[in-house]
Symmetry: C2
Subunit: 238 residues, 2 copies
């Protein structure tokens, strides 16, 4: 009977907002209102992902440590290793969540539209807006933090990923004769580069002079996607 009554004051940092992905539809696990110090967390895995995102958002990337993440989730420093092999594995989970959420937001913004060009506008704007609204996810998704190659994000049930959405938008535009014909890949790469570059510049605060709010970003994204599509039109000049 070594060390009986000890450390009774843990588990106070539970309860986090379900920010992204899997919105609301966690199994059954969480949140009986009394957080009485139960040994098992319920859904520690997701709690760690959420804590990591929050930590990056609040303190920046340099402050991201597994131990602090564990602290915020209300568990000891070794507990994360029951769910992630690695610090990098945790980041991979964040990235996957980001990829799923980005594709979802793109689909949602595209859904109301039927015209190929309007759908392409929507896709591009959603791409940029996702980055602006979720910088930690975007940074993890595309940042330099992975040594081993990241496993591909799981796309559940035939839902199209972000890149696939762009490609099919472009090809639809070509099929309708609204974009210049030929190989779709160069055009896709142009579109992808444009929105990715704009998003990156926003997230990395390189747009010092320009206003920084999300609504300003939306306006800029709108202008830029219009300019882009203008450039991808069939060269009907005479």
């Amino acid at each position: 009977m070594r060390r009986v009554l000890k450390s009774r004051g843990r588990h106070q940092a539970r309860e986090e907002a379900r920010t992204l992905a899997t919105r609301g539809k966690r199994k059954q696990a969480a949140e009986a209102p009394e957080d009485k110090g139960r040994y098992h967390h319920g859904d520690l895995r997701q709690a760690l992902v959420d804590a990591a995102v929050a930590l990056i958002a609040e303190e920046g990337f340099g402050a991201l440590s597994l131990r602090e993440v564990a602290r915020r989730a209300g568990v000891t420093h070794a507990a994360p290793y029951r769910h992630f092999a690695d610090k990098e594995a945790l980041l991979e989970a964040v990235a996957h969540e980001g990829f799923r959420a980005m594709a979802r937001e793109m689909r949602e913004r595209m859904a109301p539209h039927t015209g190929p060009l309007e759908r392409l506008y929507a896709a591009g704007e959603a791409y940029v807006l996702f980055a602006v609204r979720h910088p930690p996810h975007f940074r993890v998704m595309f940042g330099p933090h992975f040594t081993r190659p990241m496993s591909p994000p799981p796309e559940p049930e035939g839902e199209q990923g972000a890149f696939t959405l762009l490609v099919s938008s472009i090809e639809a535009g070509q099929a309708a004769g609204l974009l210049r014909p030929g190989e779709s890949r160069p055009l896709t790469l142009t579109a992808w580069s444009l929105v990715h570059g704009l998003a990156s510049l926003f997230v990395d605060r390189q747009l010092g002079e320009s206003p920084q709010g999300a609504e300003a970003a939306e306006a800029l994204a709108r202008v830029q996607t219009r300019l882009l599509v203008e450039g991808l039109r069939p060269p009907a000049r005479g």
Copy 2:
């Protein structure tokens, strides 16, 4: 007389290639062929920058530690603090070196051309090529590793920086009637986003299918800058 003869075997890791920036024109400091264990390094500051870049290139960003950098430069782990207040300050030096080098490479590639469009092509291609050829610098320049805002890169002697080069190229094109008129900033942002996005996608290995070599990158950059300029032409359709 505490600890007299000790640690005679340091200073074996001297001599590094002068990779970027300040090419060759270091004061007088370095490289008397005998590296006999002199106490003072000669140009430790630059050696640390070089070592950091090499380390990132070889082992990835996660492996970057001040202590390993110091080890590679052949000094003890505290020596860097005589030259940099911080780990972040060292990274800032890397970024500055990168900004200077990128602007230089852009200027060099633009120099042979006089036509505004050709100069714009050259600027864009050089931007992408810099990223492909110097991924560590590019990552540090635009990565998420700075908590405090980075001090602006020093632009010696009226030399134009990378962004300034882009802006003036665009405005020259407008003045010549080769690009659509009006506010130059949206067009500049389009161009910048395009090349920055392409560069980022390359550096972060998101272009899995496409070939990865530097020559492939050059070809892609060429195609994309042509497409871009095509899109920025005056809308003379009719």
